[in-house]
Homo-oligomer: 450 residues x 2
């Protein structure tokens, strides 16, 4: 007997087949209906959200919930405007499904197309922000993927209201399959979900590092996500000082609570004396706690700076997500690269240098999904990278790496068009040769003339 959650997952998986084959116009019509329904049913959403907020305030009173979480949970008209605008952005994104990635003539009359296709069924597990539902649902719909959602219990009422409004709008659109989008509400269901690797093709967890780590460690389903952002900037001997001060300040101070802010500053010994004292002053003035290695501590003390801490070995692998920065003086770019590859999280790391050879080494040898040259690590983000909408940031080494947009929800399918071709003719002593000739042909162009 399938459980309730299995039933939901199987329903969504079955609907994914039909969803995968829908045309662009139909999908955009459903997206338009989603945007209009949100606009029309604001009162319902705000009412549900008020219930969540009341419960949250009670928990806050008992110390079980923070104000920051309440702020993320709280919806208002402007946040609903944001959701609607987000869906409209997705309408304007190009439809990637059916795009021909390659076409190859294997032999006369035998043509192989590689065509972009949806992955199938995506599981999205997120913490308190209810804005995730419209954002991910619109991206999944446009890319032809079924989705099963699980939100945080604090946002239960809001998620349920938004989910209901959106799925009703989709299912009322003629030609759209039923049941492609599903919502789970209990924590027990998550455990069940993690075991359903037979149906779910990809999991996208959105939340704290611990949360993502928990998901990764408890499922066989591939996970698109990242557990930590330990980012660095290395200030090379040949750095332009003004650039170094400006970029290093931005990378730590502009928004320290996020994964692409730096946690460690590496400074070449040859530039430390001219660069570091002013840099440290800028940081201290902005309220940054500095945790220095022996050499930088001694240098800054000598220059008359106080309020410094000493870094311990574990500081090189801490993600502060706060106004705290570890500082280390290194003897060479080689030492810097080694430090980054060993202690970092392969997320986003930068170099400040005017020297071509140094830039080339850093780009080539730093094993991170984003490598920045004379620019802030804070740029590593789906919106800034021009992806239209961000599915997540991945520190995986396969499928998708770094800031991931809709392309992370896609795979491909091979289509072989023949005229009675058989392998026997291409085997053995009298085997016909393959031509393997690249074609400019698009599958879309022949699809009408099958």
């Amino acid at each position: 007997m399938p459980t309730e959650i299995e039933k939901k997952v199987i329903t969504a998986k079955n609907a994914s087949i039909e969803l995968a084959s829908l045309g662009t116009e139909l999908k955009n019509r459903a997206l338009q209906a989603m945007a209009e329904a949100l606009d029309r049913q604001r009162a319902e959403i705000l009412e549900a959200n008020a219930k969540d907020l009341r419960a949250a305030e009670e928990l806050k009173a008992t110390g079980k919930l923070s104000q920051a979480l309440i702020d993320r949970l709280k919806l208002n008209n402007s946040k609903i405007e944001g959701m609607i605008a987000g869906i409209k952005d997705v309408i304007n994104l190009e439809d990637p499904v059916g795009e021909t990635l390659s076409a190859l003539e294997l032999d006369s009359g035998l043509t192989l197309f590689q065509v972009r296709a949806p992955i199938g069924l995506i599981g999205v597990i997120f913490e308190s922000r209810p804005d995730v539902v419209p954002q991910i649902m619109s991206l999944c719909l446009k890319s032809g993927n079924s989705t099963i959602f699980k939100g945080g219990s604090e946002a239960k009422e809001s998620n349920r209201a938004i989910f209901k409004i959106l799925t009703e709008a989709i299912e009322a659109t003629e030609g759209l399959p039923k049941g492609a989008f599903q919502l789970m509400e209990t924590r027990e269901e998550v455990r069940d979900l993690l075991a359903l690797d037979a149906y779910i093709d990809l999991l996208i967890p959105r939340g704290s590092n611990e949360f993502v780590k928990f998901i990764q460690e408890n499922t066989k389903i591939p996970v698109l996500g990242h557990t930590s952002g330990i980012c660095h900037i290395y200030v090379d001997e040949f750095a332009e000082l003004e650039t170094a001060w400006k970029v290093c300040f931005d990378a730590k101070v502009q928004y320290p609570a996020v994964c692409n802010a730096i946690e460690t500053l590496l400074v070449d010994r040859k530039i430390a004396e001219t660069f570091l004292p002013k840099m440290a002053e800028m940081y201290l003035k902005a309220g940054v706690e500095l945790r220095c290695d022996e050499a930088s501590y001694a240098l800054l003390k000598e220059k008359g700076l106080s309020e410094l801490s000493k870094a311990r070995e574990e500081d090189w692998e801490l993600e502060y997500n706060d106004l705290i920065l570890a500082i280390k003086i290194v003897d060479s770019i080689k030492e810097a690269i080694k430090h980054i590859n060993l202690h970092g999280s392969h997320h986003s790391d930068g170099i400040i240098s005017k020297n071509a050879e140094r830039k080339r080494s850093f780009i080539g040898l730093v094993d991170s999904s984003s490598v920045m040259v004379n620019a802030s690590t804070r740029f590593a983000d789906g919106y800034r990278y021009g992806k239209g909408a961000e599915v997540g940031i991945s520190t995986n080494k396969i499928h998708s790496r770094g800031p991931t947009g809709m392309e992370g929800l896609l795979i491909y399918k091979y289509i072989l068009m023949g005229k009675g071709h058989i392998v026997a003719d291409y085997s053995g002593k009298a085997a016909k040769p393959f031509t393997h000739r690249k074609l400019e042909l698009k599958f879309k162009d022949i699809n009408g003339k099958l």
Copy 2:
């Protein structure tokens, strides 16, 4: 204290950084050295192989090993020629590393490149065929990936000899890092290896379904492989009979022991009477055991055919890998598609039809990595698909799907080139807009002028 196997893995991982940044010419020089060393040291390889064969013959005498396995294990001059030719093919493959996948101007002077990069450290676990070592080692070297190998114990001496010859050739090439390729020899090491997800980025198991399944179920490392090939052909009402007979025969009989041979033939009721009797005769003549559903059994009996079995429910999900075929008569293409998506392994499935609408439905709604139209499923293979060399066939829905060549060993890296750009300028009320202008620029072209 790291174990022996951890030490090997860490050595290979460290070497992967340098390997990733090598130029094409250098890599080709190492490949050339590999080919020459194999050619020069044939005697050593054959001597080691003779030891394996002697041990295998002893095991065979006690019934613990099959003749088929001994055939796969046995090397001779012609198989060594094949290894050498394989390496030379890889020399001729284009170097994908460093290829620019996209270039985007974020703002004046701030350019984002997405550049192809190696994955890092690949683990290859294979059963008895020693030819896997040169094949995978050359592909991994060309794509800039470190590799750790574990072969079957029956081929221990052969693998060790080949591995030693190849790594010595690589490490004697000036500019190549030491330790990028490692060999494991004991079964205990495999267990240890499967736990090293902190270092190994991708596992490629090559062997029986049970073997691949075991790997998949016992590791958190992503696995590129497939556990089963339950492939179908659906003969539509509008099939051309000659095409149907020829292709369905080829798809089962040409080489039944492989994953892309069909296991079930689905026949539209409207064409069954004209198509099926002759088809069944062809199969029976070739020694194929036919396991028929009620309707096809009755039809074929009526036409005077004997030697038929009745299919049981479990036959729809069996991979025979042998001269056995399940046959089912279906009422519609819809039923055929549903059967394939439900019982198949999403590997390779075909339709025989002249009708455009039917072809379109089948292509759109069959969720398999290869969909064949009027062509044999047996074409689904890296060599036939023009990939030069096959890493494996994947039934995953992420990263790579279907026959996978060197592209399965690659990911990408983002390189952001700035001139002191900071995120603060693009945030808040006076935020500068991004230009997000697509560029035709290649990173290779600017790499010389950094």
